[in-house]
């Protein structure tokens, strides 16, 4: 999995592409988020549109990064969930935990 990183109006936008699965994408996501936190960037928006598969480890990593960001006084939000990722967040009831957006402008303004 590859993760593009860009900054928009003080918000770091991460764009993971591919699978967030055990031993591969989950580690990459963790490292990407922690790099931003270590650099003092605490407003993080993950654009999920390029995520094709997310297993339980990937979901666990999303939860873990959400907690890490919150513990450092930041916010982590999700943008443009693919239908299957949205289904999983519904099934796991994590949709109630994450703030999710369909529109990037609106998401960036919300921080």
């Amino acid at each position: 999995m590859k993760i593009e990183v860009r900054n928009r109006d003080g918000v770091t936008v991460l764009e993971p592409r591919g699978k967030i699965t055990i031993g591969v994408g989950d580690v990459a996501l963790r490292e990407a988020v922690h790099r931003e936190l270590d650099a003092g960037r605490k407003h993080i928006l993950i654009d999920m549109s390029g995520v094709t598969t997310i297993d339980s480890s990937g979901i666990g990593e999303l939860v873990s990064t959400y907690t890490s960001v919150s513990n450092r006084g930041g916010k982590l939000k999700l943008l443009d969930l693919p239908a299957k990722v949205s289904d999983i967040l519904q099934i796991t009831q994590l949709i109630s935990v994450f703030e999710t957006y369909d529109d990037e402008d609106e998401a960036v303004r919300s921080f």
Binding site: T21, I22, G23, V24, G60, E61, V63, Y66, V97
Partner: protein, 173 residues
């Protein structure tokens, strides 16, 4: 007929047991991708649509990951066996490890409020949600066998398609 479900005779005229595969992998997480490729090819050959393939793939990933991590403790000298078969209207995935056994009753409910933000503990939940049935058994010689079952064909059509072969049992062991 639910979305993604095909009549067997529409899906393929091949014998059901030609759609089975058996893989024995060593206990490395990278091998999950190998299982995924073979599984996806098999399910595609059966005529199953992308949605069904996706959910079966996700459930299988969890079973194989559990077998590697929790069953075999990532010991590369231990193998995980994956068998996929068609049994009537169902696709059946069987994953066996060489670990010390497993009690699914001890796994906590990931939807309980106190567990919602836990980073782990959702693997079995994935399997149960994405498949119709999940059974746990003991492997001869030690280890756990997880059997995942999902109906993917219309029942009547499956029986009719299997009849000419005189063998409607896809080979679940």
């Amino acid at each position: 007929m639910p979305d993604g479900m095909l009549r067997r005779d529409e899906a393929s005229a091949m014998r059901s047991d030609e759609h089975q595969f058996h893989l024995a992998i060593d206990s490395r997480l990278e091998n999950i991708e190998l299982v995924q490729v073979v599984l996806n090819d098999t399910l595609e050959r059966l005529g199953l649509d992308e949605d069904v393939r996706h959910w079966v793939d996700l459930a299988t990933r969890e079973a194989v990951a559990n077998a590697i991590k929790h069953g075999n403790d990532c010991d590369r000298d231990k193998t995980v066996e994956v068998d996929v078969s068609v049994d009537g209207a169902d696709v059946v995935v069987r994953v066996a490890d060489q670990g010390g056994g497993f009690d699914p009753g001890r796994v906590e409910d990931p939807l309980a409020p106190e567990n919602l933000l836990r980073p782990t503990g959702r693997g079995l939940f994935y399997m149960q949600k994405f498949m119709d049935r999940v059974d746990y058994g003991t492997r001869a010689g030690g280890g756990t066998v997880v059997t995942l079952r999902k109906q993917v064909f219309a029942p009547g059509a499956a029986a009719a398609a299997a009849a000419p072969n005189g063998d409607s049992d896809g080979g679940e062991r």
